[in-house]
Symmetry: D3
Subunit: 313 residues, 6 copies
Amino acid sequence: MDAKKLMDYKVDEAMDLFVLLKNADARVAKNGKRFLSITFEDESGEISGMYWDASDADVASFVAGKVVKLTGKRELYQGKAQIKIQSIRLATDNEPNDPSYFVPHAPEKRKDIKEEIEAFLFDITEPTWNRIVRNLLQRHAESFYTYPAAKTNHHAYAGGLSFHTLSILRLAKSVVGEYPGINAPLLYAGAILHDIGKTTELSGPVSTQYTTTGNLIGHISLIDGEIVSACDELKLDSQGDAVVLLRHMVLSHHGLFEYGSPVEPHMLEAEILHRLDELDASIMMIQGTLKNTPNGQFSERIFGLDNRKFYKE
Amino acid sequence: MDAKKLMDYKVDEAMDLFVLLKNADARVAKNGKRFLSITFEDESGEISGMYWDASDADVASFVAGKVVKLTGKRELYQGKAQIKIQSIRLATDNEPNDPSYFVPHAPEKRKDIKEEIEAFLFDITEPTWNRIVRNLLQRHAESFYTYPAAKTNHHAYAGGLSFHTLSILRLAKSVVGEYPGINAPLLYAGAILHDIGKTTELSGPVSTQYTTTGNLIGHISLIDGEIVSACDELKLDSQGDAVVLLRHMVLSHHGLFEYGSPVEPHMLEAEILHRLDELDASIMMIQGTLKNTPNGQFSERIFGLDNRKFYKE
Amino acid sequence: MDAKKLMDYKVDEAMDLFVLLKNADARVAKNGKRFLSITFEDESGEISGMYWDASDADVASFVAGKVVKLTGKRELYQGKAQIKIQSIRLATDNEPNDPSYFVPHAPEKRKDIKEEIEAFLFDITEPTWNRIVRNLLQRHAESFYTYPAAKTNHHAYAGGLSFHTLSILRLAKSVVGEYPGINAPLLYAGAILHDIGKTTELSGPVSTQYTTTGNLIGHISLIDGEIVSACDELKLDSQGDAVVLLRHMVLSHHGLFEYGSPVEPHMLEAEILHRLDELDASIMMIQGTLKNTPNGQFSERIFGLDNRKFYKE
Amino acid sequence: MDAKKLMDYKVDEAMDLFVLLKNADARVAKNGKRFLSITFEDESGEISGMYWDASDADVASFVAGKVVKLTGKRELYQGKAQIKIQSIRLATDNEPNDPSYFVPHAPEKRKDIKEEIEAFLFDITEPTWNRIVRNLLQRHAESFYTYPAAKTNHHAYAGGLSFHTLSILRLAKSVVGEYPGINAPLLYAGAILHDIGKTTELSGPVSTQYTTTGNLIGHISLIDGEIVSACDELKLDSQGDAVVLLRHMVLSHHGLFEYGSPVEPHMLEAEILHRLDELDASIMMIQGTLKNTPNGQFSERIFGLDNRKFYKE
Amino acid sequence: MDAKKLMDYKVDEAMDLFVLLKNADARVAKNGKRFLSITFEDESGEISGMYWDASDADVASFVAGKVVKLTGKRELYQGKAQIKIQSIRLATDNEPNDPSYFVPHAPEKRKDIKEEIEAFLFDITEPTWNRIVRNLLQRHAESFYTYPAAKTNHHAYAGGLSFHTLSILRLAKSVVGEYPGINAPLLYAGAILHDIGKTTELSGPVSTQYTTTGNLIGHISLIDGEIVSACDELKLDSQGDAVVLLRHMVLSHHGLFEYGSPVEPHMLEAEILHRLDELDASIMMIQGTLKNTPNGQFSERIFGLDNRKFYKE
Amino acid sequence: MDAKKLMDYKVDEAMDLFVLLKNADARVAKNGKRFLSITFEDESGEISGMYWDASDADVASFVAGKVVKLTGKRELYQGKAQIKIQSIRLATDNEPNDPSYFVPHAPEKRKDIKEEIEAFLFDITEPTWNRIVRNLLQRHAESFYTYPAAKTNHHAYAGGLSFHTLSILRLAKSVVGEYPGINAPLLYAGAILHDIGKTTELSGPVSTQYTTTGNLIGHISLIDGEIVSACDELKLDSQGDAVVLLRHMVLSHHGLFEYGSPVEPHMLEAEILHRLDELDASIMMIQGTLKNTPNGQFSERIFGLDNRKFYKE
């Protein structure tokens, strides 16, 4: 076994490594025997393969979220990479078996992201907003820095939620510097909180799914409800003037009713937050897609950007 | 002075009665003198008139929401009814001066509406929903039965909010009786709460306006936040299973993102609540408009119904 | 052979029963031999299976709409139920071979539906409407009570057309009882006629398809044309006042141009009919889909409801 | 009195002529006296004026649709032409008093239009279509050649309906000549019938309004119903093959559901009819608007063409 | 070998002919061997087939755009025609090997199309437009008469671009003849130039693809840029009055922003060009689709016509 | 006369100053005499007033774009500020009479804006783009720094075009600094050129109107055409690789077809330019509107932002 990552292997090269089972669906073949259709994943990307003649025990063991030791070979099938599996077994306690180690991560370190975000707290000079933001960062101290920002699309990797938040804060700082008259504390407080509801809407960084609560309430109303709850705990009036402004920031950040905001932006800072959110997401989606696009060609179409394809110089 | 209502007077008939100032705007005439453009209102309807040569004291006294003693004459101007004002003065404490007495009211008695709505509480057999509904009815014990359901459009009269709620409950009961398998407690709980946020979104039954909080948060997120707050008070988990279903009912009741719901209906009961809400509102808007339409003609266009006009047989 | 229905058999259980061929498509396998891809159906539901090595005679005999004696076994293939066919043969005249017996039916008895609908005729007190409705019910005496209301979606079963009509009439009666001032005879007459054009638009209860006439004219204009034709027969003026109102009811019942109505509702009763039509259809679609959804999960997406999925408690 | 038309008079020139009252609204002036706000019209165009101090008899006599003898003067008021009225009186039986003489007319003679349209009947070689078209042209022998094609917009003049029909037939003939394989009889039959329902939808060539029947049924369903009625009279099956194709032509001629067609075009000839209908209407709207536009400038915006304005070279 | 075309062979008939490789994709079969999935094409249409066990040399030789000698047999697979390939080899220099010979062609001769288009130059009597049109026809003397008008959809065959242009010119001539007051030179000049940018947007008549330049600029801006460039060459002001009108014609010919026009039509002639462009394209799309539709049935849905299907009598 | 600006005067205060005539419309009063309805403007804002009994000479002299000496008084009329004019006369050559001096200006100095924009040229390291940008800045050396960016809405003041351009460049620099992998030279070149076509689309900084060329071609195609023209002058291929990318930047900068871009962004840099353009415009529109909004209230609705109103804290 070697230190190679999943995507480092070439066609016909023998593979021997630890990888995560991102998906593992049990099916029945035409001959009546069961097999597993598996997607393997590590930080470098993902590839699929078939595990034939799966026993009941195999079906029970090899489920999404488990780390396995894989031997096999990389092959081409109908123009796509796939793995011909020789053997798989679960990683033991003495081996690397922490799933979170195998999912892609934000491009900066969790500790650095956390420090830089928390530095913005000093610029949130309005006490009500400052207390609410601190309270909610506390509640989600762990998940905020480990969750992705989405199931697919942009920032769909461990730590993506906080990295997306930080990217917006950095843009916000530039805007505050360029245009006089912006309420910076409000903009920063709204930016930090705007997507925290995703820690409830999504299931976590590994094999990310929408939760039932996420589907029925949505991250926008979830964070709005949490602000109310924080106010109750901090003995603040959840319909008081300052709180209403902050709630407006998070409620309106999708910009349009059609995108799920129950109110559209009616403050300068809300408009800016909405636009910076979209700007950062767009850049991430395009750069993520162009990574897999050869020079001089167009990428696949990006669903989140009106199904447009992008040209790579 | 007599017991006639505002709309009972005929053209050229002398008027002498107490009425409410619905609006009173101070303007400057071409000759440089100030005058007040006033809209008078009582239960029977509303008519406008000009109060010429208004003194500073007049401008300060005669403001929207005050009851006045009016003498004058009903006239026709460019085909429209108007009042030629002889005199107005504020009603004294010994005279009828309660503004709420002069605004239009729901067609049934507040006491009856209240009793019939509260009877539904016994059908909300799920304890979590029952406690939350009781808690919020308590909080808004006064305003829920006095507020209108809208600034204009349907149910725009004192008590309109609770009467609209009751009308939906009655329809809901018919639907529950006709179709097996509906979760009646959830449907009734959602119906009672769905518009209570309007007690914060609107300013009240007299001279109804949208509040700043209403504009920045909206009645859907307001009631969702109040459910969270009620949970905090009742020591319930605001993201627990039963509460999530109830929150979904109120969050989705506008049916479409475009109409301000942050989630669309994803439960049978949520779909039914949304459709009954629209059905009741449509009937009210059409009947309200047809009241002023001659037989054999089409009404004015109704903005809330795609600008359609309706034929009166 | 036993009295079990199609869906009563378990995996690996031997089957021996009469069923309907809902579809039977002849195809050529990779080895060059023909086979039939069959969907079997009875009241309990439907399952598919392959009939290998089909002779010319097989292809000619086993066509959609025939009842067959089937022996075989229920199996699982790629997570879906399917039938491994041992033998099929056409049902003889001495055996159950009436296809209409094998298609799903409305949840109430045809006789009861008919009686309850006809009882409403006594409430259609306007003579012109009454005569037209009776004339058209007469014309479609058979098909109105046997046709489905749709090819797929809601009420897509034998008798669905009349059951859908009755469900709307029941709702309409509740609305008439709750709101004063509704023209009940017009509402009931419109409700009974609104979808009768489907007896021409659709091919019938077995293997339902759109007819060419249905595709080129549509059930809305078909019923409008039939009202004209009934007027010609009854010596009524098809552009007379009462007839115009009834025609408006059926022409506008889809509510929006986008849904195929050549006029939008311009009468209170037309608006109500449209909304009750949608309400009943929505409940049927959701309940039909939830029947196959496990508790605590979301259903498949429903095309007719903006592709939304619904949560089953 | 002279032979000048309404628009021939210059500013400050004394006027003395017979004209039509297109509109005449009674109003009350600030001084309490009634006056009539009148729009005068003849073939050359229309101008407005005020008739002060109108007696009860005046209000009763001077109504829309009457021809009057007018003396007065053309003036400019706020940049617009208006008439200062000296006197008006009704035209007597010995004077020109036929209103239809004073409305704008189609640019070709009624007799020529009729002959050219009827010549197309010989190209409708399918007997069913031929009989239906002849039957309906017979029914509307008078109105088809005198009605406008619209209340405003394109062809809003006496004879506009038949002239619009003829223009489409001419275009259709070119298309049939250029593209092989078009069913010319079907295209011509559909073209002749497509707008005949407007003889019921509109009130007539003078002071054109939508009728109640027009508003509740619409000209598309009206003509479809008349085809059914013609079939009943001619003992043809109104759901027979040939009739279904013809009905499809008229039902689909607005092209899109949004424009009021209950079915969209599903035949080559239906698609062509729809497009030629729009092409002719567009040219008429633009040319009508450009007539009043100075060279080198943009016209007013045209509502029927997405509110676009057009440049006049 | 015989003179039969690809589509002339019946099922099970042996084939021996020269055909074009329209597509040839190399894939790997389940057994690990490579095969080519090929689409053959000649003027009569196209059929697919599999070429098993392809060597490296085969994959390198048999690429899209090559003419091959094919022997094999026509078969049916899953209801669709396919070719069982016995052998293929590249056509030699002594054999028919010009790919352009095998692609479908316009239904009229290139020489005739060219002559008829160039005859219109004499009707472009405005000298600026005449010089620009001649200059650009010169630049694209070859490609204009060989390119298709689209990758798929209408006129997707060699010469389709010029044939589509000619069809519009013919319609334009009819319109000019029927309606007085149209600027014929402007309409004809715009019609000739409107789609010439496709000679850069598309790759050519064989295996037509969008070019990178086509994707990034689009044929509308390409031809607008070429008009500027022609002006520079001819020493004309590219923002002069006459040029601005011509540029408006080509820029607005898609009619709506949504269809890629940067300005909507603001001249009568631009509106006409847009509508004739759509009319010709619609007829071509429908007739092309109906060619493969049996009588009495509906065609496949046509994407370019709102996904409608068309009935073939 | 004093140094006060137009908006510095209080109600009833006598005025004596030089101002610009922004608009001056001649009308006829009810008494038949002509008057001028004038809008006065200087850097501080604008107010209207009536100039009664205007002679022919007055109408000829006092036209939009002239500077006048005004004496009068500020008054209130129907709640709005207006000027009671005592006298106006044209400013002489010895007095301040340069209109451009009286229109609002960008908030930074023209010289500074120019220097900062030109500094970006050094970062456009790709020689083709650099040469084209320099060539076009040269062509519009004067107008680029004096024109507004719009007729109304954002940056509708002298120098607004270049200030808007600079604001985008500043934002672009921040984005380039935050996200690795952006082609900065392309982004800067696109940003500088994107709106230069407005120097032809608009009439200039005083009494700004759309030109005929602007209406028929639009600033997007105008600048695209100018790039082609610059290439012709610089002997560059206007369809060469580098030029195509630059043309794509300016063609796609409105982001959506609906907003007038003939292609949507298909490059990362094009997407960023589009979003920064909208971000800067939004901030300018909101801040401009909030300037006239009292604290604690909502602004007027902003047309360019979906008719939303904005709250001022």
